[in-house]
């Protein structure tokens, strides 16, 4: 009853307990093919984050948090890659990248529509009105948040706590982060919780951060477009 089927290899399915802790290391997926894009993206996003920090006034609080997330996850990633320590999920199998991106966009669509009809208020409202702020909200924030919440926290929490408690705790921390950094309303925090749980589960299932980055980018990008248009 409490078992979930997940990919543990290329096409290998295993059943894990939804609630109890799972064996350590089985949630991680760090592939040698992904070292090059991971390294390039760490450097690129660090430049963008630092540049936003010194040039966007509205990002004075958020940018340091993302810089910390980038450095923290970079350390975790290299520990996992070169010393096989800790838990991390990277960009997944390159042959499934396009499919993972499509899945991310598909899952994010209802949340984008939710922003469109004002079921919840998108975050980063002030920042998205300047070009660099828009870029930060649409590109930098999703990547950094997914690295931290999806790539690092999700596998660690699910290893130690089990799938359902891990996903719920991850969603709660994600909502609290947005509440404290962006000051979102309670209703928006609830939507963010649901989005986080779904994306984290998909990241675990596909063993790929690509789903999370694509979905999160789509939600933020469409929300920022909506704000820019004054909708």
């Amino acid at each position: 009853m409490f078992n979930v089927r997940v990919f543990v290899g290329e096409l290998e399915l295993e059943e894990w307990n939804w609630i109890g802790p799972a064996p350590k290391g089985r949630w991680s997926s760090v592939l040698p093919e992904n070292r090059s894009p991971m390294l390039l993206m760490f450097i690129s996003y660090f430049i963008l984050c630092w540049w936003s920090y010194i040039n966007v006034e509205a990002m004075q609080m958020a940018a340091p948090a993302y810089l910390f997330a980038l450095v923290f996850t970079a350390v975790l990633y290299f520990l996992k890659t070169y010393a096989d320590m800790g838990e991390f999920i990277d960009l997944g199998n390159p042959s499934r990248t396009w499919m993972d991106m499509a899945l991310g966009f598909f899952v994010a669509l209802p949340f984008s529509l939710g922003a469109l009809i004002r079921v919840f208020i998108p975050t980063g409202a002030i920042a998205a009105l300047t070009p660099l702020g828009f870029l930060f909200v649409a590109l930098v924030a999703p990547f950094c948040e997914e690295l931290f919440f999806g790539g690092s926290l999700t596998p660690v929490m699910c290893s130690y706590l089990g799938v359902i408690p891990g996903l719920i705790l991850n969603g709660v921390i994600f909502s609290i982060f947005h509440y404290s950094v962006y000051g979102v309303q309670l209703q928006t925090a609830l939507w963010l919780f649901i989005l986080r749980v779904i994306l984290s589960y998909l990241i675990l299932w596909r063993r790929s951060l690509t789903v999370g980055i694509a979905g999160h980018t789509f939600v933020n990008f469409s929300s920022a477009l909506l704000l820019m248009g004054g909708g």
Binding site: E33, N34, R35, S36, P37, L40, M41, I43, S44, I47, L48, W51, N55, L91, P94, S95, T97, W98, M101, T130, P131, L132, F134, L135, A138, L139, A214, T217, F221, L225, M228
Partner: protein
């Protein structure tokens, strides 16, 4: 159609394409940084375009990121196919979002065409079938 194209010819095509885009990017960033330093008003004139100064804050990091990435892709196309193929979709997505951001905030100006990100993502989209062919060849 794509099966008839030689693999090395595809890799060389990507190599030369990325080299050209990289050089165009260097020319553009030189002009953008020059405008950033020398012009102080809200509107700046750069490469024949009249754009808001706030857009330079996107154009500068955009070029700083994409120029090295493009040259690396040119190198990887010939020497490290695995890296080239893994980087490809991510470079496309980043260049696409950078390009959309620049063109959204360009003001009354015509679309920003002298921009490496626009070249990058358009050529990347056109090259997808060739990349898929390379990927199948690599894995077979």
């Amino acid at each position: 159609m794509f099966d008839e194209v030689d693999e090395m010819a595809i890799r060389k095509a990507f190599f030369y394409l990325d080299i050209v885009w990289g050089i165009v990017g260097i020319i553009a960033i030189a002009a953008v940084i020059n405008a950033f330093v020398t012009q102080t008003g809200d509107i700046v004139y750069v490469l024949g375009m009249t754009i808001p100064r706030s857009l330079l804050y996107v154009l500068i990091p955009c070029h700083l990121i994409l120029i090295p990435w493009t040259f690396y892709q040119a190198y990887a196309a010939l020497n490290d196919l695995d890296s080239f193929l893994s980087n490809y979709p991510w470079m496309l997505i980043i260049a696409l979002i950078l390009s959309v951001t620049e063109n959204l905030f360009r003001g009354p100006q015509t679309p920003l065409v002298l921009c490496i990100c626009l070249f990058d993502w358009i050529s990347d989209v056109i090259g997808i079938p060739f990349v898929q062919k390379l990927y199948r060849r690599l894995r077979s």
